[in-house]
């Protein structure tokens, strides 16, 4: 039973990400975009309970009817829910209660996974696992935010290294004009927003073989990039001024030396590491300062088989919009992606905290332009 094995792997990995935390770390929500770790633990469990066990497992007993209110994220179809900014106000259910909830649902899921299932049910289980993997990445980013914004700046794990692979000498991959195909096709799982595979026409372009490094970005800072409106979108410039932004998130200039908050606490900035934790505005401003641009998502996907990627989610110049022929699934699952297709930008690739095997070349990640608590970076095009 591959699915059962996958289920076990995914569920355990979630809990192992949380293992270094103190109980208090599971509770807080310093900003609206960050969710408390215990909420992620409950919400991913609620997904299996709500969409698989409740409708399909005979004799299943709901763990606690009030949990639907607490752990529903954004599914309007499934009733009212705690508003997002209130998640950090909830001390209960306690972590131990949520762990009992996980055990309760896991036990039922193991029984359920013993049964024969229709392809639809199997697809839904796979969706639940991919969903939990997405929350594994969010757990990492949210935990980093919680600890990294605490005045004590505690380490998450003194042994966990950050991606620091030396950046290769940058070169340019030249792509010929013509019709390309993008979007998912073939076997295996994909999200609905990767469908359907379709043709796009691309003109000649070049795309960098490497990500922008911290050292390169430092040049932008030191040449006054954050003080020159010419490189910025108008709303990006407002963002810089209103938030007094002078560097990427987690960068601190202390006694003339750039420091960076890592899994191991505050460390000297690794200049050869790929730049991380920047907003779309910063990515676009940096590209403008270089006299270049960001790739579109189609350009990225067409070139990606020949590129090395996976350390940073790479901001593209594409807005998050439906592909030709996109349709929403009926019911609550249809709320998964389509309703977010406005006002966000697409990111491609994967990051050092993306679960292994989770992403693929057609994967479409998306965030609002000012956000930067994700592991985001820059690849240039021209």
């Amino acid at each position: 039973m591959q699915l059962k094995k996958d289920y076990e792997t995914v569920r355990q990995r979630t809990e192992s990400i949380c293992a270094p935390l103190k109980t208090e770390d599971y509770v807080v929500q310093p900003v609206a975009d960050v969710s408390p770790p215990k909420w992620h633990l409950g919400h991913t469990t609620w997904f299996f309970e709500t969409f698989l066990l409740m409708p399909n497992l005979e004799g299943y007993t709901e763990f606690d009817p009030q949990y639907n209110f607490v752990f529903n994220s954004y599914y309007e179809s499934v009733g009212s829910r705690v508003i997002r900014t209130d998640r950090g106000n909830l001390s209960r259910p306690a972590v131990e209660d949520i762990m009992r909830y996980r055990r309760h649902v896991d036990d039922a899921m193991y029984r359920f996974l013993e049964q024969e299932h229709t392809p639809e049910i199997q697809a839904l289980i796979t969706l639940g696992l991919n969903h939990e993997e997405q929350h594994q990445e969010l757990l990492y980013t949210d935990i980093k935010y919680i600890l990294g914004h605490n005045p004590l700046m505690p380490a998450y794990d003194p042994d966990k290294q950050s991606a620091r692979s030396a950046v290769d000498n940058t070169s340019w991959l030249h792509m010929k004009a013509g019709i390309y195909e993008i979007g998912f096709a073939g076997e295996g799982f994909c999200f609905d927003n990767e469908l359907s595979r379709h043709k796009v026409y691309l003109g000649d372009y070049s795309i960098s073989t490497s990500l922008v490094s911290n050292a390169e970005y430092l040049e932008f800072i030191q040449s006054g990039g954050y003080r020159d409106f010419r490189y910025w979108h108008a709303e990006g410039w407002d963002w810089v001024k209103n938030n007094q932004v002078t560097a990427p998130m987690y960068w601190y200039l202390i006694d003339g030396r750039w420091m960076y908050y890592t899994w191991q606490g505050l460390q000297p900035l690794a200049t050869d590491a790929p730049l991380c934790h920047i907003s779309y505005y910063e990515a676009a401003a940096y590209a403008s300062w270089k006299g270049m641009r960001l790739p579109t998502e189609a350009e990225w996907e067409a070139a990606a088989p020949q590129l090395s990627w996976g350390l940073r989610w790479e901001w593209t110049e594409s807005a998050y919009l439906p592909y030709p022929g996109f349709t929403k699934a009926p019911g609550a699952i249809g709320e998964y992606n389509g309703k977010f297709m406005v006002s966000q930008m697409v990111l491609r690739g994967a990051s050092e905290v993306t679960p292994p095997g989770h992403s693929r070349i057609t994967y479409r990640n998306f965030f609002h332009p000012p956000l930067r608590w994700q592991f985001t970076g820059i690849r240039l095009a021209k």
Copy 2:
């Protein structure tokens, strides 16, 4: 001198739009997106003074050095400026002072237009005229907002009719898959955001030959469209709930009868008129309710030679992003379009208040998704 004649026509048209106003109407700014009419009168004049007369007309005397602070809209290159939400707090310069300012600049421009000019200067004059035409449309939309949100709902002009041309029987124009070219090419003026002309691949699609009518949109309202989250983007649904939206702007249900604020004051809703004053969220929700979608801007442009358009700015499913090869002009003029290319949606066509001859098939208008004080409408695709 065609340019001189054009200058005279455009400048006079601006003032004739304002002719029905009372002095008080020139002053107010009920919301941030609406500017006081006297600000438009001054700002369009400031454009000619700042970018043409000051650098190029020998012996020109600036009308008042403080006006730069008052009438600069968003040009960071040209110094500090009154913040947008404060425009309605300025009782001075008075309307008569601004009219003297217009006379002063017009006199100098007429002298200037007698001279021989380089193509660059000529292009800048043409840009100034197109800029003023854009503000003519904004004058109409802002005046409608100012009068239409006054509790007395005064008429703008008792003789001015709204577009009411009966909507033809809807039919579908079928377009074949293939490579199309979009973007401006050839002689004459265009904005930088229409450049450069480039190829796009489009799959098979169909596009409606007519705009959605008030009667059709009423069906959406009456079937509960504003109360069913399934048709809405997540941020659109928040917008509906936070603003308690139940109908397009300027629609009022009074004693069971739908009324609509027009140039002639409050009138019974013309059911056969093309729908107007809706947000992108409403356009997308209506399309979703119909089981269809909005066209992309490339689909729109490829089909438009065979369509009738011009009564409504038509929301597309395309975000406002740079075309391949887009570059910003150096200096202040480079701030015209490029820095707004994030978080907005493209509208195509023109509206009943667009100056005659101002728009064209490659024209790219753009607004944020929730805005609806412009003359916006819906054309469906599938």
Copy 3:
């Protein structure tokens, strides 16, 4: 008919205050506390129409039923109203319409004033006149704000002098401990908040015979008063920091020289003039810096027969609360004062823009602690 003569005097004085304005100046509302001058002109008229003519003058025709919505200030009993922050968004009714409204109501009032009236009606007319006098002072303060916050800083009237009477040598009036009586008694008009006259016990105290001068306040500024939290209430210190306050309103340090916006435009600060335009927080901080305090309103009233006062509203250390035995009148008039008796501080005296004869020794003015667009000053006690 004294009342008729008073009516004529008061109504004309209101219009003469507005005489130097341009039409545009009547319209704007730069902050919520400031009302557009045309609103004051309409609202004072609405008071007579609503509370006197409509219920009492046979055959009176309401000028325009929609005006109640526009010109009601805060009377919940009299229907819904334009919310305060929207007053500056109303271009209509135009100034000329409001002037016709004033003529219409004045004509009717003159007829009404010919008749015999009960004491209750007479009292209501007198209240209407005192109400309009209060708005005369607000007209001055609001006009100063509108013109003084315009980047062009136009003069209101080049011939209108500010109070500049040299401050006498300060001396101290010593008051003996004992029972004093405060509150209004006797003939003539008073507001309900001055009632009833009652005994208070005061300990020994001393009160300054003069107001704090600009020169004295400059010492506070120059000794770092705005940068030292020790002199400030906690919420005052937040106010200083959030608003970056460094001087009284209308003070500008230009090229090392203190300037002050007056009726005649920007002028060098008159150091011997009594300090003006300060918040309660600043008054209390100054007193604390001097090692003294502000008087209570009872101390002020007990001493005032022996003091010269009338140039500045003097902040006291008393909160605005009901006197013993205070009762609200039934009906809308009962909303005049009582419902504001929380979260405000009492000011005593009068200012250079208070109508002659309007104030008296028992008069209780009141504002919220951070406000300073009124002509407020400081008298010390110890």
Copy 4:
């Protein structure tokens, strides 16, 4: 050593209040006025460390220099601090770290309390104990808020009863006009805001011998008190409408039955219990509806020797202002009370969660008018 014994009692009582909590409950801050319990535990400890041990105990080693930043509440003299609304974002220091901090400081304090001390030091220790007692009451109110606003509404302690002593038949205590003395005098501890004892003149008045009961307040609700503006201050009426207030805090109308959140979870409302958890606005509106008023703090204090009090903090009609002769202590301790003497109302008495022996007849508690998470009630006067 009485002081040492007192120290032990107070410190242990704080921890016993927290004993029923889960670790997660120590962390959250649902609204700005509520602090996380672990913050109270740390802050009260920080007070002893900062004001006693650091300056006075030779050889004392600061537990962690970063704790000053975390646990300073509002003392500007003692450096920068975590802003109040961010306290709930801090998962570290963990509860166990704070408990070690308490042990560290307690050990040092026990050594310190063995020594001989000046009266000044003794007074400061006593102040520290009274300070911690104030936080004990805040711990109760904040814990009730945290658990009572959780959708699961967990009980704090299934055995802890709420005050439910039957309200006596109400009678009126009549007080004769004359001079009374209020304020603290004599031996023992008092806060600086109770000084100095001084004379006040009071007219004849009557004060209720009992607090308003839930049953009495229900009559106000059922007669439409929350829907009739006439009983409310203007800002109270805005508060009712903006927050859609229809009952005291923790009251829920479920299936036609009034329920109330208690230490034991949600329970049927005890109609004979004294009303609790109301704002000043509600207290004043109720009094107005009864045709009565709230007592002033002087009236309360003059009558209190003959009254039973201690179940509810009783809102008075007095603003929180300095007594005659009030002076702030020099240094950080001077920030204890004086800087809050604006915009708040005085409450007298004590509540069911005030530590035994903490309050006294001259005690002046104070809160902003809209707050109601404290155990507040109403006593009428006339």
